[in-house]
Symmetry: C2
Subunit: 319 residues, 2 copies
């Protein structure tokens, strides 16, 4: 009998249901840490690889085969929509996204045209191929999209170069910033809806740099757009995961945005996140730098986190 994906430990955990064991998957599980991925990729750009659904499907499946992770995540990138509309972005190995002509004022907004379904047909096709491959074993597939502040940080700064230009835009040209974030929110929603329609069973939204904003800028320039994206995904009936870093000062407000799951970094104890995020499931917490140390240290740290989660869940239930 084929296991039902809806009964997978990952999707049950996303919904806050009891699971027999803690489901595991990794951020960046697909990619250059795997020898088979390096063999598959060759020398092209990552955006070229993403544009090839057969290759992207294989990259998505490699970690599922090697590690038996409890979920696959589509091999894609948060700058795919910008690239798809011809904005002029590349992802340079060791550097990250690089933009030739960044957004520097209202005159640049026209260069961000609305994302059409056809623009991300290659990602949808990857999702279809992966979903077909995974149908046999009940492993769920996570789709992804970038949230506006984080995608804008590349579009405005021109790359991974801090946040001073974008923050200056928030202070000096708030209308331009809102217009940009509105466009990027619409693009994120189209991107994720297409992946869900193609078979993604969950969606992770990357507002990776949320922690760089203060509470006032979050409330004006990030949270409203995040809530719109969360609502759009939930309307499609799949769990929506929020990912950010440096969120320790804002968890209670993030809890109110409507996400089913919050993916935290290592910068807070996971049981504190559990207590401060009522109504959401919590995942993450391992500092991936531990993988550079001895294997024992990495295993020990991972087990400590799982134990902290299990203890917190039990304490929570026993109340």
């Amino acid at each position: 009998m084929v296991p039902a994906v809806e009964e997978s430990s990952f999707l049950r955990a996303c919904r806050g249901a009891t699971v027999g064991r803690v489901p595991v998957w990794f951020m960046r599980q697909a990619g250059r840490s795997l020898p088979e991925y390096r063999a598959l990729r060759g020398s092209g750009s990552i955006l070229q690889a993403i544009a090839d659904p057969a290759l992207a499907c294989e990259a998505t499946l490699q970690p599922v085969r090697r590690y038996g992770v409890d979920a696959a995540i589509v091999f894609s990138d948060i700058v795919v929509p910008l690239h798809a509309i011809g904005f002029g972005v590349d992802v340079v190995p060791g550097t990250g996204p690089v933009v030739a002509s960044p957004v520097r004022g209202p005159g640049d907004l026209d260069r961000i045209r609305p994302l059409e379904e056809d623009d991300v047909a290659h990602v949808a096709e990857t999702v279809r191929l992966v979903a077909k491959e995974l149908a046999g074993d009940g492993t769920p597939l996570i789709g992804l999209a970038g949230a506006p502040f984080t995608v804008a940080s590349y579009a405005v700064e021109g790359g991974s170069q801090g946040f001073t230009r974008l923050k200056t835009m928030l202070y000096a040209e708030p209308k331009t910033a809102h217009a940009l974030f509105d466009k990027l929110t619409r693009a994120a929603i189209v991107q994720i809806e297409e992946q869900i329609a193609a078979g993604a069973e969950a969606a992770q939204i990357f507002e990776s740099w949320l922690g760089e904003l203060d509470r006032y800028d979050l409330e004006e320039f990030s949270f409203p757009y995040l809530a719109r994206i969360a609502e759009a995904v939930r309307k499609k009936g799949v769990p929506v995961i929020f990912f950010g870093t440096g969120m320790g000062g804002h968890l209670e407000r993030i809890a109110a945005l409507g996400f089913d799951v919050v993916s935290i970094d290592w910068r807070m104890p996971i049981e504190d996140a559990r207590a401060r995020l009522p109504g959401a499931a919590v995942q993450g917490n391992l500092d991936s730098t531990v993988l550079l140390g001895p294997k024992e240290a990495a295993v020990d740290r991972a087990l400590r986190i799982v134990k902290a989660v299990v203890d917190a869940v039990h304490a929570f239930k026993w109340k």
Copy 2:
């Protein structure tokens, strides 16, 4: 009548006493944002400038004269002890600390000899000169020292190049890391004791990169050393201020370390910090990037923070 420095709004606030108005001072208030500082400095290295007590005294006093800030902070740097013992560190404009031969294993520990009082005599002399100048107007002077993880990040990485080498040392060679942190803790205590003996009326301890560690590494490799430094400073009878960034996931544990004041960054609402740091005064919270926007935005953000503090203090008292 000369106003008593102990009755200054800054020192009263450090002790949690009522103040007539919120005292103000700025991180990096002495330095290159001031035209008179650039004129004073000329082209030498900042460590050369720190080594010249007359020049360092003048740099310390410039922001007090220009802005009428409620406290002066000694013009010094957290890598001064490393430099003073001949470890081989420079501070490169636009880059930060650069170390020629970083600590890469236990064999490098001997290169960090104990800091002697004479090694930091120039900083003590600066403090004496400033204290003499400020004696007339009751403005307190803050001394400073770097905490072990942060100073080690420069000593081990070789500069502002992330934390992967130092974190790998924590996992792979914890004994070497502890030996290094113990040496740097002793150096921090000598450095701050000399400044207090010379007339500093408060001390700020910079564990600037605390937010990069997870709770397990903090508990093993940072908190015990911070508590030792806090205790040493408090024994000298002056308030001790803790500065770190990205602390939102750890405030309750930081509250237990014995600091009188916690200096937070902009990554959490200040009233939340107030509530989560019982027994400590709270300062900071302005994202300095706002200074790149229009003046109105900077004034508005600063006023919002002061209002949030005042409201929180009143709410706290009315309970």
